[in-house]
Symmetry: C2
Subunit: 189 residues, 2 copies
């Protein structure tokens, strides 16, 4: 009987693709096994459980998203950096909806600390350097930006904007502009 060449990494990749196709909550070890034409039990040599697979997908997505955001802000500052950062998040969520959903999986504290999640906060702080905010304002601003971008993406994905004839891209640009102005105003004070 030929071997399928499975590994935790390969299963995680496949799970991520499955998530993008059918939604993260529809990811199941059974379906992943089907895609490799392998019996379900075989996956349990590589991942501990269904939950373990989901956590691995979440960690993958967090890393990909942080890499993309880091790329986006490299060589930019101020408003440019903010816009590029925002676009990185929104673009990733559009191209990889299932993976983006995965980034919201609740991780236990140790796993979260060891994940790319802290990098996301660091990247946000990198952008804020251009606005010269004192603490604790900088922390407040990290939370504002994280929440605003994430919340917008989620509402948009949930179809919350479908019943109003205003281009979501126009709203997004307006919001980025407004947040930039907000941060500059806070810097002055």
């Amino acid at each position: 009987m030929a071997r399928a060449g499975l590994s935790a990494e390969i299963l995680t990749k496949a799970g991520a693709e499955l998530a993008d196709q059918v939604g993260f909550d529809q990811v199941t070890v059974t379906e992943v096994a089907r895609r490799f034409d392998v019996k379900v039990a075989s996956l349990y040599s590589h991942v501990k459980s269904s939950q373990d697979l989901k956590v691995r997908i979440a960690l993958l997505a967090l890393t990909e998203l942080a890499d993309r955001a880091a790329d986006a802000i490299a060589g930019r500052a101020g408003r440019d950096a903010l816009a590029a950062f925002a676009e990185a998040y929104r673009g990733y969520a559009r191209e990889h909806p299932g993976r983006y959903q995965a980034t919201r999986l609740r991780l236990d504290p140790e796993t979260a600390a060891a994940s790319a999640a802290p990098r996301h906060a660091q990247l946000t702080r990198a952008i804020l350097r251009g606005y010269h905010l004192p603490e604790p304002d900088q922390t407040h601003a990290v939370r504002l930006l994280g929440g605003a971008f994430h919340g917008y993406i989620e509402l948009e994905a949930a179809g919350g904007f479908a019943h109003t004839p205003v281009d979501p891209q126009a709203s997004w640009d307006w919001i980025v502009d407004s947040l930039d102005a907000l941060l500059r105003a806070r810097a002055d004070h």
Copy 2:
């Protein structure tokens, strides 16, 4: 055999309480049945499916949340209204985490349109009246506020603020202040 006095409404209520205790994604017809000391199959006379039960919980939560927000902004305007509105959302999410999670369930368009979801947008527009924003800016602002409040609540619930020693309440107040200033600045233009 005595009857348990079930109904769709009672099951929905129980499901909502269960959600607050164990998380919305852990809500199962099996567990609800257990709580009424009734066989699982009995629930299927009242709800069509497990999904149907979840949708009902989501609709209940959306209504409760809209009612609370409406109460909060009654008799207030401008910054006061904005702060009260924000507090209504955050308070509901803290007191009823499972129900709040339920409000994010993806509903099909008809169900969403018939739900309290449009009321949420209307309430936000009511607040924005105090800022005299022209269209399409008002729509942009609805999306900004919805996204920012929702995103903040979700990041906070996910434990995203745990590793920074800055009081989440202080950040929340700072954000509400900042958004108020942002909206007033946009009104001037």
